[in-house]
Symmetry: C2
Subunit: 306 residues, 2 copies
């Protein structure tokens, strides 16, 4: 497949989709946003972006906005930034945008998103991106990019040609981006952090610094990380055990960080339990890997989410 | 030992100690309160009690208040209503009040309180009481007795003579009270409820109704109850397994009840983790009873409390 990318759709234009889509449009890409709650605001006023990489506004005339996927054109690249709790709407929201040469890049959290897209649209066109960033929606059509912003992306079926072309486009658009040789490795490495800090953070309503403030807390976080390493290993993703202390030490530099899942809980919104906790637990069960901590975490999150 | 009870000391006069002590004083007992934060308010204005069993005030002249245990007289009965997180002060706070014929009744939560008192003062004089009640402190020297109020009490070393005498005194003072033939059975039966609802309620910051709102939640509560039954069985306290569904069904009638431990967490106060969760876990380990849920609960509570 050829990798000329000019026309881009953003599906799920919350904080993350809105920010990256707006950056691409700011630098000349032809960006089409599928919006729900923010449709009126963005149609009337465009996007207002505060960013540590430079504030900017996009006028309504610089972008295209839609309420329905059926009204949208086929594009070269679909950027999927839906919350994973809406993954059951992939066919309906993404299907109309996909032509023969369309690539699909999911920036979503957790496991299984690329695979779900591949089942619907074929693995060759699917890419996954890990967004290491902190972006909040501060009002209708208003976004605050507060920290970081790196995207690491890779091709589900292997190879790096398309990933490299997209990374170049992103880097030209002031989005720091690099290419993962092994997307699965990247996903699991990110999961080692996300499982304890999103999971325990939301279940116990504790920010990342509080979770590791005591030895007991760091030990519990470490137990969960150890289980994720074991599950990854069971499907051939070998993560080094040094990752555990490394990630805990990195977290100590982050201050009182609240994960998206903790914020979702505090705001009474759906939490991404399945993508971040449920999927690795399911793999553990299939592979016969003992993960008692992961299982308990999943159970208490299920209770908290009801 | 003879069971004439006229002079009573209340140690730890928070909501529970304040309420029961004030009731006893209202009905003619000679009650001596050991106070900390509320000393000035009670010394100046006495107790103000709102209660579903009848509001009343006690003037300063109707009671005795102290800041220091050393200033207090020896009494016939010490009522211990300290938070269990202060149990390391038993010797210092209770010792000065204990004469040859003094009984000690602890109304505290969880396990191990009677045994700690017995080590210091001898088992023969120790009684335990389970307070099924909902009493809040609403201001300095002001108490609101909102619901229930039954005390079930028993003698640590067996027998019922002293327990019966105290129960009669309490009942004459408009405190509903009955006698437990088997104090340990009563303690463990109460623990079957307290472990999941106090423990999970505080760790996950969920009220009792939310904990059992879903099947997943009721199942998790049930797993913890099952473990407590097994631990009780391992030391010869045989609780029927029907207790599990019975207690869950009873809880459904209680509305959005917040346990003391959840409220302590929300107010940033010390939680009674050791008395309610740590003690049964310790017994489980000593007896080789597998309690994975209890252990995980203990670990997450430890993290939440730091």
């Amino acid at each position: 497949m050829e990798s000329r990318i000019e026309k881009i759709a953003v599906v799920g234009a919350g904080a993350v989709g809105g920010y990256y889509g707006a950056r691409l449009a700011q630098h000349g890409a032809d960006v089409h946003f599928l919006l729900r709650s923010d449709f009126d605001a963005v149609a009337q006023n465009g996007w207002k972006v505060r960013s540590l990489d430079g504030d900017f506004n996009l006028a309504p005339g610089q972008i295209h906005v839609y309420r329905q996927a059926e009204e949208m054109p086929k594009v070269d690249l679909v950027v999927v930034a839906l919350k994973t709790t809406s993954n059951d709407q992939f066919a309906e929201l993404i299907g109309p945008l996909v032509g023969e040469k369309t690539f699909i890049l999911t920036l979503q959290n957790g496991l299984g998103n690329e695979e779900m897209l591949a089942e619907l649209f074929g693995a060759e066109r699917i890419l996954g991106g890990l967004a290491f960033t902190c972006i909040n929606r501060i009002g209708p059509g208003e976004i605050h990019h507060m920290d970081h912003g790196l995207i690491r992306l890779g091709q589900l079926a292997g190879g790096t040609e398309t990933a490299t072309a997209i990374a170049e486009l992103f880097n030209r658009s002031r989005i720091r981006c690099d290419v993962l040789e092994d997307l699965r490795y990247g996903r699991w490495e990110k999961l080692v952090w996300n499982v304890p800090f999103n999971g325990l953070g939301a279940a116990l309503d504790l920010s990342s610094d509080r979770l590791i403030a005591s030895e007991d807390g760091a030990a519990l976080v470490g137990e969960l990380m150890k289980e994720i390493l074991a599950v990854a290993g069971s499907i051939g993703v070998q993560l080094p055990s040094e990752l555990i202390s490394l990630k805990i030490e990195q977290t100590r530099t982050m201050g009182a960080y609240k994960t998206s899942m903790q914020i979702d809980r505090q705001c009474g919104r759906a939490m991404e339990i399945e993508a971040i906790i449920g999927k690795p637990l399911k793999i553990a069960k299939e592979r016969g890997v003992a993960t008692p901590f992961l299982e308990f975490l999943y159970r208490i999150l299920t209770v908290v989410s009801t």
